[in-house]
């Protein structure tokens, strides 16, 4: 299958200003995503994964000190667009999003049907009735009974809410959906259900995903590619199959080794130390202080090495 590039991110930066100094949440991220593929962004809490999603959709908090880089969507540079144009052309038309906690992401005093149909009215210029019809179609896609359109968020279970959030993300048929830990608040069975829904949607509608998660096991269900994020940077990009067999970056290896296995003698490992504070990052390789394989060169910032279609930011492969 010929793959066309859907999203390309070049040197994306998002820094926050805090009382303790600048937080480098997203610090020079590069990656590409083809149509109808799912990339999983893996990483520990606090490594800048969610900030990456926010940076892509330009959902900036008030204390941004630096926001730069280039984001190409379908070959069009969207970072250069003004806010109004970005709102009209990118948000929900090009890229939509499924948030982490759907309970708090649904307006408590609006019927979920209204919330799901809202983007269709704004971006597709639909009348309310038409938009609600579309919303009910989306509800069918994600397995929510159509009469739930009239309900409020608090009348739905956690799994149903997450499905509603997915229906909402689909309603304008965007090219790309950002999934920001879409199942981390749910029980294992519901997680599996949601991932099935996501897989089917991808197959049927040809949508791409950026799945942001720390849950390696469930994410492998959906992943075509894997990007590993550490301290605001992408340290490894690889197709899923090869990644899950043999991750290259020492951090990726440790991350994979920390997943408990059903069979086999191997005890789950953990990574010693804490991820570095995004306020005071170490010189050179950011993983070096915790890396078992570090050597002298790690004191300098490692280059991104490209080999066999894999990217890894480590001196070991230089």
């Amino acid at each position: 299958m010929a793959e066309t590039e859907l999203l390309r991110i070049e040197d994306l930066m998002l820094h926050f200003r805090t009382s303790q100094g600048a937080v480098q949440a997203v610090d020079g991220v590069n990656f590409e995503l083809a149509t109808n593929r799912a990339v999983v962004v893996l990483g520990e809490s606090g490594c800048g994964k969610s900030s990456l999603a926010k940076a892509i959709l330009r959902l900036l908090p008030r204390n941004v000190s630096r926001y730069s880089g280039k984001v190409f969507l379908d070959g069009k540079e969207v970072m250069a667009l003004n806010d109004e144009k970005f709102r009209k052309d990118v948000r929900w038309v090009g890229i939509s999003m499924v948030p982490q906690a759907a309970m708090n992401s649904l307006n408590p005093v609006m019927r979920v049907g209204d919330q799901v149909s809202e983007p269709a009215m704004i971006h597709l210029g639909m009348k309310k009735k038409e938009a609600l019809g579309l919303a009910s179609k989306m509800f069918q896609h994600v397995g929510v009974p159509v009469d739930f359109l009239d309900r409020y968020a608090f009348e739905l279970s956690g799994g149903m809410r997450q499905r509603v959030a997915i229906a909402m993300a689909l309603v304008t048929s965007p090219r790309l959906i950002l999934l920001d830990e879409p199942t981390s608040a749910l029980d294992v069975l519901t997680q599996a259900n949601i991932f099935n829904v996501l897989k089917q949607i991808k197959q049927n509608l040809g949508i791409s995903y950026i799945l942001i998660t720390h849950d390696i096991a469930t994410s492998s269900e959906l992943a075509d590619d894997v990007a590993v994020m550490y301290a605001g940077q992408i340290v490894e990009v690889c197709d899923a199959e090869r990644f899950f067999q043999a991750p290259q970056h020492p951090y990726s290896r440790k991350l994979m080794a920390s997943v408990p296995r059903l069979r086999g003698e191997q005890e789950p490992e953990f990574i010693t130390g804490q991820p570095p504070s995004l306020l005071a990052l170490p010189q050179g390789c950011r993983f070096a202080p915790r890396c078992p394989l570090r050597f002298d060169r790690c004191r300098q910032d490692p280059p991104v090495i490209k080999k066999d279609g894999r990217l890894v930011k480590c001196w070991k492969y230089a």
Partner: protein, 374 residues
């Protein structure tokens, strides 16, 4: 496309229908219980007011003293009385006092009269004032209150309503521009509003009336009262400027500050961010995702502000000599005019109870989450 997985709570619909039939009964029962508890609260409140306004019966002694004094004064000027022997005079005096006391009901036990007073007050049978009169000379408490109501409504009703919406509007604007210089100005000025309105009133009078002589000191219209409507309105407006300014200074900075903080908290909710991500215009986000979820709080605040006008601004109205309810209340307290105090308080208690009762239903209308718990 096949539905991926069916919802486990499909049969919830059947239950919903069953619930609807009993919903009316539930609401009626809820309303009755609510009314009953509110009524008990009002009764307790009125009882306390009657007790306090009578100073636990002390006002009776003051009234007895008044009677004794006036009877003695009256008799002293009577030559026939002066001709009597000391014993006879005392007898005559006592008899006269007893008649007066009986006429005012002071011969009966205080507690009995308290409950009668309460019953009359609760049925809005407000009775006659002890000393105060309306401008038309009526002693009826009802007439006094009805006469004093329009000036208060005019001054504080209009200014408070105007201020309320202006404050909300500015607060919403500042919450959008958190950290801007204008925001900082309001944050810095917030403590200014902690001073009471009459405090500002005194300074405003000093500046604009005494020094600059551009606005009147006090009162509601010029004397003599202008006889055409245009001049009358103009004069009224000129008299309103300073009290309105005092009220504004007393509320505007603090209220804007607290509303702005309130909106700031609610606009950092996840669903507000989602709404932005969905590409809604900032007006839509504000209307449906910030204002709508906070509507119960805003409505409560508005309703309480509106009925709060009833208790008025006793000191501010006194400072500006404004013939409103607040000043009437202040005067009533000065004269120990219990019926006026109780009359105003009873009406306020009823207004408050009715507002609280209605607010419950308004909440249910604007917030679906409340409906369930009802």
């Amino acid at each position: 496309m096949a539905a991926v997985a069916q919802a486990p709570d499909m049969n919830a619909n059947v239950q919903v229908k069953k619930k609807n039939s009993s919903a009316v009964w539930r609401i009626v029962r809820y309303a009755l219980i609510r009314l009953l508890t509110l009524f008990i609260t009002v009764v307790a409140g009125v009882f306390l007011t009657v007790m306090i306004a009578n100073m636990g019966g002390y006002v009776d002694r003051i009234r007895m003293g008044d009677i004794q004094e006036s009877v003695a004064m009256g008799l002293r000027g009577n030559p026939a009385y002066n001709a009597l022997s000391a014993e006879e005079r005392q007898k005559r005096l006592d008899a006269e006092i007893a008649i007066q006391a009986e006429a005012q009901g002071l011969n009966r036990p205080f507690m009995v009269r308290t409950f009668e007073f309460m019953q009359n007050a609760m049925t809005l049978n407000l009775g006659r004032a002890l000393k105060m009169t309306s401008d038309s000379g009526s002693r009826q408490v009802q007439a006094i209150i009805l006469e004093r109501l329009p000036p208060t409504l005019l001054l504080f009703g209009s200014s408070n309503l105007l201020l309320f919406f202006a404050e909300l509007f500015v607060a919403l604007y500042l919450s959008r521009r958190y950290g801007s210089w204008l925001d900082k100005v309001f944050v810095t000025l917030a403590p200014v509003s902690t001073a009471p309105a009459w405090f500002f009133g005194i300074f405003l009078i000093l500046i604009f009336a005494a020094s600059l002589r551009i606005l009147p000191f006090d009162g509601m219209v010029d004397a003599p009262v202008p006889n055409n409507l245009w001049d009358y309105s103009l004069s009224l407006l000129r008299h309103m400027v300073l009290p309105v300014m005092a009220v504004a200074l007393n509320s505007i900075f603090l209220n804007i500050y607290s509303w702005r903080t309130f909106f700031l908290i609610y606009s950092s909710e996840d669903y507000v961010e989602m709404a932005k991500a969905k590409g809604l215009t900032s007006q839509d986000v504000e209307r449906n995702y910030v204002l709508r979820p906070t509507l119960p709080t805003i409505i409560t605040s508005l309703a309480l502000m509106l009925i709060g006008i009833w208790t008025g601004y006793p000191i501010l109205e006194t400072v500006f000599n404004w013939p409103g309810l607040g000043r009437a209340f202040y005067q009533a307290i000065q004269f120990f005019d219990t019926p006026v105090i109780v009359g105003q308080t009873v009406i306020f208690a009823y207004l408050l109870a009715i507002t609280v009762f209605l607010l419950d239903f308004v909440y249910a209308l604007v917030d679906p989450r409340v409906r369930v718990s009802q």
